[in-house]
């Protein structure tokens, strides 16, 4: 089985609300794919459709080329964490994993392995009702890992985690991808995925508005600026503006230039014989790139929005 998730043309309507409007993307093995978008973008619905929990009105979702209900032992093909709060409070973490393991014909030993892996071994015999949200996230991760699946799909796994947990989660997701697994992680906070995701699928209003490598997205963001410190401020402004840049004076001897890369700025200044003491490229953050992309796709806005696409 190929470790992939393919989502093609998913449409789903709940009453008058269009939750999915042609959602289409593919999750590749060996990398962490971030699935981001504002609330209501259709992330959770997409994941439910992938797991066969919700039936789409149109389109299909395949795991390794097969639809979910056809999977013989689904947890060994795709591990999912949808809602960390979905546990029976009176049951211990270990017993929660035990019934799941039994449903797949797996043993007690495997349960202890994933508890260890998720860092829950010491609290495994405590009732899940007493777990913090962060611990429940770890329990959800343990459940997803039970079948040692080649595909993992986690909905908002960082929610409720303490900083230490977030660091652990990032490392864990990276290690899963490094093993050749396909990892799809949703989040509504781009910063959580900043150093984790290799690839991003940005959703808005039930469809994909960007699907690209993280590096490409950042490069394409509008926020790239160059900071220039020079004593010839007026001359520099003239030369750079002439070359097509937008220049703003931000201090007595500093300028912020957008529309030109740092290297181009240096070349121009050298040609014009203008001295400078500092040129610094200021890279757009993933957060900025994301905000740019989703500005028009945020569901609750006063003015009519337009479709933003970066492809």
């Amino acid at each position: 089985m190929e470790a992939t998730i393919e989502v093609a043309g998913l449409r789903k309507r709940f009453g008058s609300a269009l939750a999915l409007d042609g959602m289409t993307f593919t999750v590749q093995p060996g990398q962490v794919t971030g699935f981001v978008g504002p609330n209501g973008a259709g992330k959770t619905t997409t994941m439910r459709v992938i797991l066969g929990l919700d039936a789409p009105d149109a389109g299909r979702a395949l795991i390794g080329g097969q639809s979910y209900p056809k999977l013989r032992r689904p947890l060994s093909q795709i591990g999912a964490l949808l809602d960390a709060a979905a546990v029976q409070p009176g049951r211990t973490a270990r017993n929660h994993l035990l019934w799941l393991a039994h449903s797949q014909g797996m043993s007690r030993r495997r349960v202890d392995q994933v508890l260890e892996q998720a860092g829950l071994a010491s609290v495994a015999r405590r009732k899940a009702g007493g777990y913090s949200l962060g611990m429940r996230q770890r329990l959800g991760i343990a459940a997803a890992m039970l079948g040692d699946p080649p595909v993992l799909m986690l909905d908002e796994p960082f929610n409720g985690m303490d900083p230490e947990g977030i660091v652990w989660m990032r490392g864990f997701l990276r290690s899963l991808a490094a093993e050749g697994r396909a990892v799809l992680v949703s989040s509504h906070l781009m910063s959580e995925l900043q150093d984790t995701a290799d690839h991003l699928v940005v959703a808005g209003r039930g469809k994909v508005i960007a699907d690209a490598a993280v590096a490409d997205l950042i490069a394409a963001a509008s926020g790239d600026t160059v900071l220039l410190r020079t004593s010839g401020r007026v001359e520099a402004m003239t030369a750079l503006t002439h070359a097509g840049a937008t220049v703003a004076a931000t201090g007595k001897d500093t300028l912020t230039i957008s529309g030109l890369a740092a290297g181009q700025v240096v070349t121009l200044l050298n040609q014009a014989g203008i001295g400078f003491s500092e040129v610094a490229a200021h890279r757009a953050s993933l957060e900025q790139a994301y905000m740019d992309l989703t500005r028009d796709a945020v569901e609750f806005r006063a003015q009519p929005a337009q479709e933003g696409t970066v492809r």
Binding site: A3, P29, P74, Q77, Q88, D148
Partner: protein, 532 residues
């Protein structure tokens, strides 16, 4: 970052069948919630505590004392059932084949003048003319004069015409109508080995065969002759369905016989004997027989027939094993809650998504859940019923109540039937829980459909006809599985729950199965097509 060239392979393999895995998983779910396990144990305990302690709280008082001292000695018939066998018998031995023919010209009777009075207490002065519906006089061939002997008889009755009855429980109708000198009834019994054939005739020349009785016990010399009996008359306290208690009135019946002819007899003289004297009804100077002008007049009291529950035709208190199962409905409520929660808490917690992700074939998941709630409740119900029935017999006897004996197979049917009743009810609750997805409304629905009709029936709140229909068409019909002794049309009794039900045990159980199957099908259909 570059994509890995070799796809990741899972290390986890399994060989077991997928449905067995699901059942295993659901079992693990059930047993790892301590509250559920404790609730099932509590259900068992409550069934027994309520059935044994509350129902048999007071011991019986009698002239011999109280409790076990009051336990009567009750004859049992050839089939093992408790019987009344008290009547006046005018007899001759019959060593082999033969026949007995009579003409009955009159059947009259006397009842207590005082409503609700017991005839034995009043003597002849307290009597007035009256004939109870099942007063009987006729001819009988019995294995011996011992109470509970095998027999076959032809008789005229107070208001049910000519009957052939044998071995206490069998009853076949013959000529209708009352007898008189102008319209006498001819009766005949023919014995050949252990087979007795009954005939009746209006003319004495053209005979109609009524029935053939094969009575294994009827070998060698038997007793043949005339008899008269008149059962205790039962008046319930309330005209409702169910056991409300009531009062008993003794009675007498007198039959006048002409053209008495015994073929195959050896002595030629008649002997009178009051069989089971005082056992049921009147035992005073009016009892006996007279022979005059070729006619025989026989007066007797009592009955030859099965004992029914509710002390409706006995002077002693009777109970059935079902009387110890009154706690079943309490345990049932608890088990309904557990069975409903087995699915509804998954909806409440969102756990249903984890479950269905692990088991995308939803029909099989529902089946696995049904297997577990069914097996758990079947085991709990059977254990509780076994304790209630076995210990209950001891407790009731200790209290002085006579427990109507039943066969081992009947007892097993009642015990396992309670288990099955709880199991199918649990599956019904699981199904409704799947449809409604809410614990409270599910439990309320099952209680309204099943427990409420049962309580209405047992408590005798509804008019009899309404109560009977409720116990026929609602899932509560399944409580019929607890019925251990049959109802007899030839015995007047208080035929209502918890001892008697309008449907036969398995028929009543089938009604519940129908509801459970329909709701399970609906649940499977909805579960498959709904988003979760």
């Amino acid at each position: 970052m570059t994509a890995a060239t070799t796809p990741y392979r899972t290390s986890q393999r399994s060989v077991s069948d997928s449905f067995a895995r699901l059942v295993h998983a659901e079992w693990t779910k059930f047993r790892t919630l301590r509250g559920w396990v404790l609730a099932v144990i509590a259900a068992v305990v409550l069934i027994d505590v309520f059935g044994l302690l509350v129902v048999n709280s007071g011991g019986i008082q009698c002239s011999q004392g109280s409790g076990a001292a009051c336990l009567p000695s009750v004859p049992t018939g050839p089939g093992g059932e408790a019987v009344n066998d008290s009547f006046y018998f005018v007899r001759q031995p019959l060593p082999g084949a033969g026949s007995l023919t009579v003409q009955v010209t009159s059947l009259t009777g006397m009842i207590s003048a005082q409503t609700g009075g017991f005839i034995g207490q009043h003597g002849p002065a307290g009597l007035t003319t009256g004939l109870v519906p099942w007063a009987k006089a006729g001819i009988i061939i019995a294995a011996s004069t011992r109470q509970g002997s095998a027999y076959a008889a032809m008789m005229v009755t107070g208001s049910h015409g000519v009957r052939m009855q044998y071995d206490y429980t069998s009853d076949i109708a013959g000529l209708p109508g009352a007898v008189s000198a102008a319209a006498p009834a001819w009766l005949r019994l023919v014995r050949s080995g252990d087979t007795i054939t009954g005939y009746d005739s209006a003319s004495g020349s053209r005979w109609t065969q009524i029935g053939v009785a094969h009575l294994p016990g009827l070998t060698g010399t038997v007793q043949a002759g005339l008899f008269a009996a008149s059962p205790l008359e039962f008046t319930p306290n309330f005209p409702s369905y169910g056991e409300s208690g009531g009062s008993l009135t003794g009675s007498l019946a007198t039959g006048v016989f002409d053209h008495v002819r015994l073929q195959g007899g050896v002595t030629g003289g008649w002997t009178g004997q009051n069989i089971g004297r005082g056992g049921a009804g009147y035992d005073g100077p009016l009892i006996g027989y007279r022979q005059a002008g070729g006619k025989l007049t026989v007066t007797g009291s009592g009955d030859i027939g099965p004992v029914v529950s509710g002390s409706a035709n006995t002077s002693y208190d009777t109970v059935t094993i079902a009387d110890h199962l009154l706690g079943v409905f309490i345990g049932l409520v608890i088990l309904v809650v557990i069975a409903a929660m087995f699915i509804t808490v998954e909806y409440r917690r969102g756990l249903i998504r984890t479950t269905l992700a692990a088991s995308p074939r939803r029909g099989r998941l529902l089946a696995a859940k049904a297997v577990i709630v069914g097996l758990v409740t079947f085991a709990a119900g059977s254990v509780a019923a076994a304790i209630a029935v076995i210990v209950g017999k001891v407790v009731s006897r200790g209290g002085g109540a006579y427990v109507l004996p039943v066969g081992a197979l009947t007892e097993v049917r009642v015990i396992l039937g309670v288990g099955a009743l709880l199991a199918v009810t649990a599956v019904l609750a699981l199904s409704i829980g799947t449809v409604l997805r809410r614990s409270v409304v599910t439990v309320a629905a099952v209680i309204i459909a099943l427990v409420l009709p049962y309580i209405l029936g047992v408590a005798g709140i509804l008019p009899a006809a309404a109560a009977q229909w409720v116990l026929r068409i609602t899932p509560a019909a399944a409580f019929a599985i607890e019925q251990s002794v049959p109802q007899y049309h030839q015995v007047i009794g208080q035929y209502g729950p918890p001892d008697y039900f309008p449907l036969a045990p398995w028929a009543g159980f089938a009604v519940l199965c129908g509801y459970a199957a329909a709701s399970l099908a609906l649940a499977a259909w909805l579960l498959r097509r709904r988003d979760v």
